[in-house]
């Protein structure tokens, strides 16, 4: 009997793999033992998922800049986030909004995991954070000062604060982590890229604990870009709906604490979820359009399944990339048909309530997946009303649903053909990873 707990069940359990004796050729399982979220619908594990489960929307009129002047005025903005509630005075001085949200979510995740500070200090703790633009407010301030006042007006004190590498640096500093501190800009699949690689670091024996996830902030230039790409919906984001008109952008940070099996067991950690295999691919096709045949996305989704040692039949629910654009949702539907055939696996997109949080999207959705595993609640795709024959899927509509939640897939099928799909499972459900199995380090 191992001194651990699974999900919110506060009792010791004997995971099925305990007697499977994979000792000779095993690699470590990787568990999520804590989650943190800074999101348009709330902060922290409970508030975040309650809102998602209830279909509470975080979409509202933008407050931080005048969106209406750009032709669109709605987004998933994190309201009322005060860095000093989560960061020290020095940290708040050194961080832009994106890093501040990252550190805040990381602190929530670490507190949620119950891990003691001394377990994080030192070279066996790594930090891997995804993003697309990182400290977008810092670069905007620098640029605007330069453009309006010339080179001599560029504030020197701001210069060291720019650079997306700082997201991981700030988190490493916050916990005294001394292992790899890496920022992975992976378009809107950045969260899955980061979490997948973080799990690989543990499986490869390079770290015992990794604080990982992704963050992104809403910023005027990026907002304008999506408007100019004609990708932005006027008011509502309705993934997979016949009348969908595009995406709405959002912001936030989703962070999870990953631990090796041995580390988690040693400290009697609560096991929220197991990180199974993940699939990566690149379309190599177009910088904004999905591949017409979705071959890369299919490879990524199949990769996640195969590398988890399961078959498609084992998947209970899919958290969709589901941006709400015509092309992306249709491509994702193609992937679902190809992978699951006639079996209609429930699928939902929380981008309908969070907006598309870009680099942070799949990390926040990973947190949502963890909560679905714990509660069996599939969060709704708010605004899904009229089925689209091109997306003939079992979309979890506005009322939400409960169901079996042992094995989930988290899809990220991003701009630039960046595809990353991660499998999350209830601890004890997946077969033990063994050396030589696809997806395990050799």
């Amino acid at each position: 009997m191992l001194p651990c707990t699974v999900g919110s069940i506060k009792r010791p359990v004997s995971p099925p793999w305990d007697s499977a004796s994979p000792a000779k050729a095993s690699v470590s399982r990787v568990f999520i033992t804590g989650v943190g979220a800074v999101s348009p619908v709330g902060l922290g594990r409970g508030e975040f998922f309650r809102a998602l489960a209830e279909g509470k929307s975080g979409i509202a009129t933008i407050e931080s800049f005048d969106g209406a002047a750009l032709g669109r005025e709605f987004a998933g903005e994190v309201k009322g986030f005060r860095p000093r509630d989560h960061l020290t005075a020095a940290e708040a001085r050194h961080t832009g909004r994106c890093s501040a949200m990252t550190v805040a979510a990381a602190r929530m995740a670490v507190a949620d995991s119950g891990i003691r500070p001394e377990h994080l200090r030192g070279p066996r703790t790594a930090v891997v954070i995804g993003t697309t633009m990182g400290e977008a407010d810092v670069i905007a301030d620098l640029d605007h000062a330069w453009i309006k006042g010339g080179a001599s007006a560029v504030p020197r004190s701001l210069l060291p604060r720019y650079g997306s590498t700082l997201l991981s640096i700030h988190v490493a500093r916050a916990f005294g982590a001394q292992g790899m501190a890496l920022t992975l800009p992976g378009a809107c699949a950045a969260g899955n890229y980061a979490i997948g690689f973080a799990a690989d670091l543990i499986r490869a024996g390079k770290a015992d604990v990794v604080v990982t996830g992704a963050a992104e902030m809403l910023q005027e230039l990026q907002f304008s870009g999506f408007v100019r790409l004609a990708a932005m919906a006027p008011e509502k984001c309705q993934p997979f709906d016949l009348h969908r008109q595009g995406l709405l952008v959002g912001e936030g940070a989703g962070i999870v604490v990953l631990e090796s099996e041995a580390h988690a067991m040693r400290r009697g950690a609560r096991l929220d979820a197991e990180v199974g295999g993940y699939g990566l691919s690149c379309d190599g096709y177009h910088i904004t359009r999905p591949h017409a045949e979705a071959v890369g996305s299919i490879a990524a989704m199949r990769g996640a399944i195969e590398r988890s040692g399961i078959t498609p039949d084992a998947v209970d629910f899919v958290n969709a990339h589901g941006t709400g654009t015509k092309a992306n949702d249709a491509a994702e539907a193609k992937v679902m048909f190809d992978v699951f055939g006639a079996r209609r696996v429930p699928i939902s997109s929380v981008k309908s309530t969070l907006g598309h949080c870009m680099g942070a999207a799949s990390a926040l959705e990973a947190v949502a997946c963890v909560m679905t595993l714990e509660t069996g609640i599939y969060p709704p795709t708010v605004g899904y009303e009229t089925p689209d024959p091109e997306c003939d899927l079992d979309v979890v509509s506005t009322t939400g649903r409960t169901g079996k939640a042992d094995v989930l897939l988290n899809n990220s099928l991003a701009f630039g053909g960046y595809n990353a799909v991660v499998c999350f499972a209830r601890p004890g459900v997946l077969p033990p990873p063994v050396l030589g199995h696809p997806g395990t380090p050799s």
């Binding site: 590498t165 992976g186 630039g416």
Partner: protein, 382 residues
């Protein structure tokens, strides 16, 4: 770690474009003096500017005329380096894959400020005109992975595409990431390395930060390498220029949280120590360290100090940024390119400690970041 084969490299640098030009410059000592930029940005407002720019860089010579208009300079440097690299490794001939399939070849490379040029260009339109007029074709260039994404599109690399943002350490970090991806069977070969382009906002930032005063000119370039499993290299009969034997990457924050910039000899020491241990070697096995140190300053002192702590005072150290400039996200990759060239029998240059070895077989390449991060890689002649 399991040794990995390095089966080709492509380089675009102030020393020259392509392996032959690069090698000739290092062999003959034809190191161009820092000069005013002619293509990277309009230097009329900066008469003092002396940079290490890639000379006569005409991407259309390598890529053709079509599709270049919306690409930024960073992307063009990387795409050209990738094309040269794939051909040098024998994976492609006349633009087509002749070994391995696109699904088994990935891309994983670092940059420090890759999207800066595009963001600033669009910011200028938004501030001086109206955000409604920004060019949507250039909007994808504002994300830090855009150059990597374009490389995969131009070169048809489909196994995976990973951009790394870790300042000057990004290029060597790409080796650590790619090694794990290869271990997990995600690809048979991965292009690794890094790139960084000169641009006006980068120059302004560096100038305002007071970083031009150290004697090392701001530079640019890209260097990419094919990192391949031994099995794959052997199966296709590839020429192995060198092997990656060990890696170390670490972070060491400052004692007090009041400072952000932090030169950390502790991080450098641990990275080198870990890399050499990972390679199963001892300090005495190292013939040369190719460092990322500039000519002077706290970071140079921390990097050289950390190396000395790990390997002792007697190991020769080169600091080739004096040859190709401060190239930030590309610096580790250009350091690797220098190391490979010196392994081929070309006499090492830019030695800042000890004497240049006559036979360079085993090299440690190092980079130190601005915030307490450090990475080291051990290479051995193929």
């Amino acid at each position: 770690m399991t040794p990995r084969a390095i089966t080709g490299f492509g380089v675009v640098a102030s020393l020259g474009i392509g392996r032959s030009a690069w090698t000739a410059a290092l062999r003959d000592g034809t190191i161009p003096a820092p000069a005013p930029p002619t293509a990277a940005f309009d230097a009329r407002a900066y008469p003092e500017a002396r940079v290490a720019e890639v000379p006569d860089f005409e991407p259309s010579r390598f890529l053709g005329e079509k599709g270049l208009r919306s690409l930024d300079r960073q992307t063009k440097l990387l795409v050209v380096a990738a094309r040269l690299c794939l051909h040098d490794a024998g994976l492609k001939k006349d633009g087509r894959f002749v070994a391995l399939s696109p699904e088994r070849v990935g891309f994983c490379a670092g940059n420090a400020y890759g999207s800066l040029e595009a963001i600033s260009e669009l910011d200028r339109v938004a501030v001086l005109e109206d955000a409604r007029y920004i060019n949507p074709a250039k909007f994808p260039n504002t994300v830090a992975n855009s150059a990597s994404g374009y490389v995969s599109i131009w070169e048809d690399l489909r196994a995976l595409n990973v951009a790394i943002s870790d300042g000057s350490c990004g290029a060597l970090d790409s080796l650590a990431c790619a090694d794990i991806y290869l271990s997990c069977g995600r690809a048979d070969a991965i292009l690794v390395g890094g790139g960084e382009a000169l641009s006006e906002p980068l120059y302004v930032a560096w100038k305002r930060a007071g970083r031009l005063a150290g004697g090392t000119p701001l530079g640019e370039g890209a260097a990419l390498f094919v990192l391949e499993t031994e099995e794959s290299a052997k199966a296709r009969g590839a020429r192995v220029a060198a092997r990656l034997l060990g890696l170390g990457t670490s972070f060491h924050g400052p004692a007090h949280d009041g400072v952000l910039l932090h030169a950390a000899p502790e991080a450098m020491e641990r990275a080198v120590d870990d890399a050499v241990t990972d390679a199963g070697l001892l300090a005495g096995d190292i013939d040369l360290v190719v460092s990322g140190a500039s000519r002077s300053g706290a970071y140079a002192a921390a990097e050289l100090g950390g190396i000395a702590r790990a390997l002792g005072e007697s190991v020769p150290i080169a600091a080739p940024k004096s040859l190709f400039g401060e190239t930030l996200g590309a610096s580790g990759a250009l350091g690797m390119a220098a190391a490979l060239t010196w392994m081929e029998g070309i006499a090492p240059r830019a030695i800042v400690r000890g004497e240049a070895p006559t036979n360079v077989k085993t090299v440690v390449v190092t980079t130190l970041g601005l915030y307490g991060n450090a990475t080291a890689a051990v290479l051995r002649r193929g």
